[in-house]
Symmetry: C2
Subunit: 219 residues, 2 copies
DNA sequence: TTGCCTACCAAACGATTGTCTGGTAGGGTT
DNA sequence: AACCCTACCAGACAATCGTTTGGTAGGCAA
């Protein structure tokens, strides 16, 4: 209960684990200046430490970026599992996917902006892993939309691959528009976004059924 | 007819104006490596010139980026005027906007990718001009969607600002997905994209009318 | 022929970069 | 008291960066 490292728990309460502090500072700095433009110096300044000292916690600058991404990957994996566990219609699954995901992006603007804008700066195996992850997302959404079509809730002529791109685009760009402290709560925006996405997929030429009352419906 | 500079016309026909050559090389290099990561050296290598020699054509590295953007701005301004000149329904205007714009992005992937990914690296007045332009686009699309609502082709409860974001997102992200030489022609993709966008805006709760036969319809 | 202008080379500049090395203060363990 | 380990400092490292300067080959005009 006192944390994994016993002696670290005695440090002043206000200071979290220094390693986390470095990660958080890096997220902020990389988000504001861009990974390539931001320097290790900037991150060190933000933490309040000489730049050389950072190498006590990280191996390289790219390693710092990769670690941020790893955290994001972890959290997104959790979200995906939660959605997968729900027993609901394909349409409702799509809606849940859109809403949950939009909300997460809105609540983690910096992290998700980094994920979309700076992934090019990874190299080798780490780059491949990111691109794999991205590809799996596309497939997941494509399958989801195919399922919606199979349920008869969308136009059978809908190109599910394109539709998936469209849906992902709309969600992914959220963090680049959103400014914190706007008039609308993130929850509200996420709801609207989910509506638009489901509407876009399901609008098919007059074939739409009324929205099933929130519960599940038989296939 | 021999070009603006008489003596330049005698240069080997295969070599275009060197200034254009520099711009094209910069577009390619900045697109591949990112503005911050790419060096003036890289651009010079691509042109086949020492890096110092580039400063015969440009003032600074940022100036080079800004000049690329200026070209893009010019072309987009032309497109906007062409669309504005058409006398068509708001829905068809939206569709035309989406189709034309999508197509332009698909045919100018490098240029438009730069426009979306590297605009942060401009400073001062040039940055402000870009952000102004961006803002004007949002307003234009918002107004367009309001017009669609006023025509009764979309749900009156539709939040036109959000819908505009959504539409712009979907279009803007196109160049980051598209790979040249894929199975589908850019024209086809643009058509599909326009359909999805119009569908998303117009799907409003069963109020949709059949698509007006391509011509104009009275208000 | 003389002179100018364009287009480029060759070489250097100061600044900044990511990273490494060696040292050390201080708390914890033995 | 002796030792070790973590967390950091101080300072240097080579490399790379954008940019500048001075020079020059060659075509064009007078």
């Amino acid at each position: 209960m006192a944390g994994t490292k016993a002696h670290a728990a005695d440090a002043p309460r206000v200071r979290r684990n220094r390693e986390d502090e470095v990660l958080l500072a890096a997220i902020d700095v990389f988000h504001r200046k861009g990974y390539a433009t931001a320097s290790i110096q900037d991150v060190a300044d933000s933490v309040g430490v000489l730049k050389g000292s950072l190498y006590h916690y990280i191996d390289t600058k790219e390693d710092l970026l990769a670690r941020i991404f790893a955290e994001s990957d972890e959290q997104s994996h959790t979200i995906m599992q939660e959605i997968a566990a729900l027993e609901i219609t394909a349409v409702e699954r799509l809606r849940t996917f859109a809403r949950t995901w939009s909300l997460w992006y809105l609540e983690n603007v910096e992290r998700s902006s980094l994920y979309f804008n700076e992934w090019r700066h990874l190299t080798g195996e780490r780059l491949e892993r990111i691109m794999d992850q991205r590809h799996r997302y596309e497939l997941y959404v494509t399958d989801l939309i195919d399922a919606v079509v199979r349920e008869g809730e969308a136009d059978p002529d809908l190109n599910s691959r394109y539709a998936a791109f469209f849906v992902l685009s709309a969600i992914n760009v959220l963090p680049s528009w959103y400014k914190r402290g706007g008039p609308d709560a993130p929850e509200h925006i996420a709801e609207v976004w989910a509506d638009m996405i489901v509407g876009m997929v399901c609008h098919s030429e007059g074939r739409r059924k009324p929205r099933s009352g929130g519960g599940r419906s038989g296939t």
